[in-house]
Symmetry: C2
Subunit: 144 residues, 2 copies
DNA sequence: AGGACTGTAACGGCGCGTAATAGTCG
DNA sequence: ACGACTATTACGCGCCGTTACAGTCC
């Protein structure tokens, strides 16, 4: 069995957690949510992740800032796969996929605007905090 | 009673929700969490918010992007109030407040870095989505 | 008096963290 | 057979959304 997993380059959950920076709990939850389902299991029941699975997990990690639910991320990933070869889709499928992509695109642009606002607010608060911190250390310096 | 609330400019929860953009549920929860407790109540039990309360709520809303818990935001607001007049604090209080402020300042800087990373990732995904969207609409255009 | 508003209480949900317990691997 | 790893189950939390039902205001 070990020979097989090594040949095919399958990883158990611990190594995957190491390489992705995601917790074991998160990996199991992603499977439960249908977001990233490991390609296999050992006879004993251990999850086995392929390199593709890992790539998908990294993609998910990158998508996190978009603020989508896990279900939405699953749909978006599927959408990106399906539209990889648009020629193989029927007219109806292509229209549908395009519409869904457009929606996610819109939400992403909106999210970017929100992130910019958040960053601005964070900067304001940061300078306010630092100013107050200065005032306090100055006040401390002028003590007996 | 109406005369009193109008004289003092006290608002009921609905108007406060309108002006802050926060939901009724959120306002009630913030009170429960000790984050923003309305200055008064009517005899019948309706919450009455002062202009100061509203200002505090808006401050809270601005702080949201920092990713603090409601309890931490409460502490930070209290900290900013207490350090408003550092001269009135004992040496120990000032040291303590300064230390706590420094911690929040550090966390804020960290958060800003994270927001920048998130924004970058969101931009990447956005352009990827838009490119795919282009490919799909182009494919659609070249159909019968 | 009636309609708009507000109160409390309770359940639900997402995205995990955190045990607790038991089984699997090399 | 031993230690390291993993499985499932279940409870908890933060931050609310969402009823359901009852009371308040003008």
């Amino acid at each position: 069995l070990s020979a097989v997993t090594h040949e095919r380059g399958l990883l158990r959950i611990g190594k995957v957690a190491e390489r992705t920076g995601l917790s074991l709990r998160t990996l199991r939850y992603y499977e439960e949510a249908g977001l990233v389902v490991p390609s296999g299991r050992t006879d004993g029941g251990f999850r086995l992740y392929s390199e593709e699975d890992v790539a998908r997990l990294l993609a998910v990690k990158q998508m996190k800032p978009l603020g989508l639910t896990l279900g939405e991320m699953a749909e978006l990933l599927a959408l990106l796969e399906h539209t990889g070869a648009p020629a193989e889709l029927t007219r109806g499928q292509l229209d549908e996929a395009t519409a869904r992509l457009a929606e996610y695109s819109g939400r992403t642009h909106e999210r970017i605007r929100k992130l910019k606002r958040d960053l601005e607010h964070a900067r304001e608060l940061s300078s306010q905090l630092d100013a107050r911190l200065d005032a306090c250390t100055t006040a401390t310096a002028g003590r007996p």
